[in-house]
Symmetry: C2
């Protein structure tokens, strides 16, 4: 049962096909928007639950702010509006009426248009300005789960849709140091989400000036490498300094009795992460979902040949389910589902295999009679270890460690691909041009010479660099913190002395 | 520490004050919208978790559909657009630009305006029309958690805001019977949420014709009585028949090989429920949150008089917290929070009492020395049972039953108020006029004669009734299923024979 597209033959169509066969999302009737379906939404709920725990553990509370932002709020922050002006949805009317031809048309024009939030710094800073009076009110540590809108002209499921779901954290602090520490703490939360839960290795670092969030002093990101060597920015954390505090007049009385502007941060991840998850783990058989965030970790499929054996098989499945539900993996109850649909077993098996359910247990009469359990391990598909048949008790006991091993294997494999494909031998603009003459394409296991990431010395001279990057279709991702050597070398763009290492690549 | 307003003296201002002192929400910078704050949002998260479990147990899965609906979708369903046309937010532009005076103005007019969803029947029926081919694809059982917009002209926190949060379930079935059974099943889910979790008693029943959802065949609701005797519609479940299926062409091939239109349902509850929760349980001391949906069921407040005793007190609190966290109430782990803010103990106590935290434990040096625990029971405030001082082990052991008792007491009290204030002795229009000459006002415990609910025979003659109701400022709530006697009587509006009993009241 092959897919129509492979990663090697047609990577973009393969991505689209994975989303279809795993039934994760589809294009909606509204242009550029998506319908997120249960497997995609379930992954998003796992991400939400994971982050909510981490946000609470670091002292943050959930709020909800309105999605409509009065237009004049954007007038205040010049950089910010510059960054978003071309992709804002505007509500201008509050009614419908029928015209003479019976056609519905907008009516009730608003005095002031409302912006559908592309992000909420402006309206949250405005709330901060009312809430914060004294240093005793600080820090304010909040998060919200919300939908946001950016008017993308080339939408793609999960990666770039006009409406998407995200969380946005917003905090206010008395000192720059504290706000900077918060920025880094949340970056670490995102690294942990990506690596420890999504099994998606990332490079953690500061963005160059020209890639900063509009209005930020500094932006930090986690960057993942997709299977075609392109980068995907998977999360960002911004130190906003006093910029938004100044626009919205967020001041506080410090412990010396003086008025000061607060220091703010913001940080977010979105449903884009799911696109990253797909392009990190899916293969030519479908999606492959890391156990720790899989909505179902184990799915049990009955293989019923005739109605006589059905009761016996379902009874045996009941025993497996209760035995498994009492077990934990990753410190949480194992998430087990029985697929009781009245369909061909082989269709049921494949529908779950395409979704990348970590373990699929098929139960037929033979298993009931032998008292055994047959487990198919999605991440080992097409290998000799794809299947395990064990006696009941042994199988149940094996599941937690098996799920944890699969999680680990998935992370290690992706990590090897990432680090194998960060080129450090590209020293000149010519070498760079040569490497990126080829289009990005699927990087098979063991391949190391295709266009992917380049780690190079860069002087930070934006004027000299940005136009060249643009012309080459390349981007600078971040200065990865764990790949700095502090040594002076030669800037790949200007030939001038340079110390910092930056990642250069094509990107989603 | 009294509030400024009491229920008796100024009910509307009291409601507003409760939201402020419990810090649940506030008016946002966007007109008619609200900022939901952690205690309010935490209650919403409890409601979400409760319903998600119940939705999953009844076979529903979560999806996410776009919030923008192409305008022409509304052209198709005449009743539906009629019902919503006057309260729709419309997106007409996708960019901003600066005009000559440097002012930001909308730019990039869209070819077709987009409606910000007031509800999603139209766009979901459109998806159904693509997904459903054969009877084998049915039923489709889905839910989404989303923000929706209705352009309210008299907004009020939680009760009526332009943007609010809700869940909307949408299902499609092969037969009318199955869809009707689904409608009733979800109504029962809502009854259970309201009564078993929110301790808010409700009347379950069908809405009269003129109160139906625009486009529905039948609408059913749960109706709660607020402390001023007004009704609050707390949830609705709609049998849509084939209406939306016909507009969106949702057909399927039945088992006889014939094309049929599907039967659909929809059902929803919103953040309005939180308004209902407040007006069911809050009192003149602040909010009073039922334990089963309280974000924190127990809050521990250190009472530190000097820095020497602090470590000892915090250590003792640590012991209480771990002992309590190991306990369950209502089948779930007890939710405990320690308030470690560096504030006056009395301020901390009141900030939680105002939120209606069911149990507040104050820990001072004296408790550490005596090995006792002092618990303040919010629902018993101002009574002799408001406080319990018990030895450590006894106190810990008592908490689950205490929380369950408080939950029960809150429900019973509200239930008594409801049933004590359903008048069955109002038989004529004159009596009705006389009863409602008085404005609604706070109904104290034991009061039974204030304007509240009237249960009366009604012939169903809408033409004769609706104008009279309007003029009197009254509404018909529903035909409560558990208050029908099947006996013929006299219609309160027309004097004609009538069998069905309907609830008449003022309403939010």
């Amino acid at each position: 049962m092959s897919l129509r597209h492979t990663r090697a033959a047609n990577y973009p169509d393969w991505y689209q096909e994975i989303i279809t066969v795993a039934d994760m999302a589809e294009n909606a009737a509204s242009p550029g928007c998506m319908v997120i379906k249960p497997w995609g939404y379930g992954i998003w709920e796992s991400i939400r639950n994971t982050l909510d725990n981490m946000f609470a553990a670091t002292g943050h509370e959930n709020y909800y702010f309105p999605m409509f932002i009065p237009l004049h709020f954007f007038q205040k922050e010049a950089d910010h509006v510059e960054g978003f002006a071309k992709e804002m949805a505007l509500v201008t009317h509050s009614k419908l009426r029928q015209n003479d031809e019976g056609k519905l048309i907008p009516d009730g024009e608003l005095e002031e248009p409302l912006v559908v939030r592309p992000t909420s710094e402006t309206i949250i800073a405005d709330a901060f300005s009312k809430w914060i009076v004294s240093y005793r009110d600080l820090p304010v540590l909040l998060n919200q789960w919300a939908n946001v809108v950016r008017w993308e002209m080339r939408p793609r499921l999960f990666l770039r849709t006009r409406e998407f779901l995200w969380q946005e954290g917003h905090t206010a602090h008395a000192t720059a140091e504290e706000a900077e520490a918060e920025t880094m703490q949340m970056l670490e939360v995102y690294r942990s989400l990506a690596e420890d839960y999504m099994a998606m290795p990332v490079l953690v670092g500061r963005k160059p000036e020209h890639e900063k969030f509009p209005g930020a002093v500094n932006t930090f990101s986690i960057e993942a490498m997709m299977q075609d060597g392109k980068a995907l920015q998977a999360g960002t954390s911004h130190f906003l300094g006093q910029n938004f505090a100044k626009s919205a007049n967020v001041t506080f009385c410090n412990s010396d009795g003086q008025q000061e502007y607060a220091y703010t941060t913001s940080w977010g991840v979105s449903t884009r992460l799911i696109g990253g998850l797909i392009m990190t783990h899916a293969d030519d058989e479908g999606m492959n979902t890391p156990p720790r965030i899989a909505p179902w970790q184990v799915v049990i499929v009955p293989m019923v040949k005739n109605s006589e054996e059905k009761a016996e098989i379902m009874n045996y499945i009941g025993k497996i389910t209760s035995a498994l539900s009492a077990k934990t993996a990753f410190g949480e109850k194992i998430r087990v589902k029985v697929d009781a649909r009245n369909k061909e077993s082989v269709d049921m098996y494949w529908s779950w295999a395409r979704k990348g359910v970590p373990l699929i247990i098929e139960v037929g009469k033979r298993d009931v009679d032998s008292g055994k359990i047959m487990m198919k391990i999605r991440n080992r598909i097409n290998t000799k270890e794809a299947k395990q048949i064990l006696p009941f008790d042994e199988a149940i006991a094996a599941v937690p460690a098996l799920l944890e091993q699969v999680q680990k294997d998935m992370f290690e494999k992706a990590k090897k691909r990432l680090y194998d494909n960060i080129r450090t031998d590209i020293k000149t603009l010519d070498d760079l041009r040569k490497l990126f003459e080829a289009k990005n394409s699927f990087i098979a296991e063991g391949e190391t010479s295709k266009p992917a990431f380049v780690l190079a010395k860069w002087s930070g001279d934006e004027t000299a660099t940005v136009p060249v990057l643009k012309e080459m279709g390349l981007t600078m991702r971040n200065y990865p913190v764990n790949m700095q050597d502090g040594k002076e070398g030669t800037c790949i763009f200007t030939g001038k002395p340079a110390v910092d290492n930056i990642i250069i690549s094509r990107a989603y």
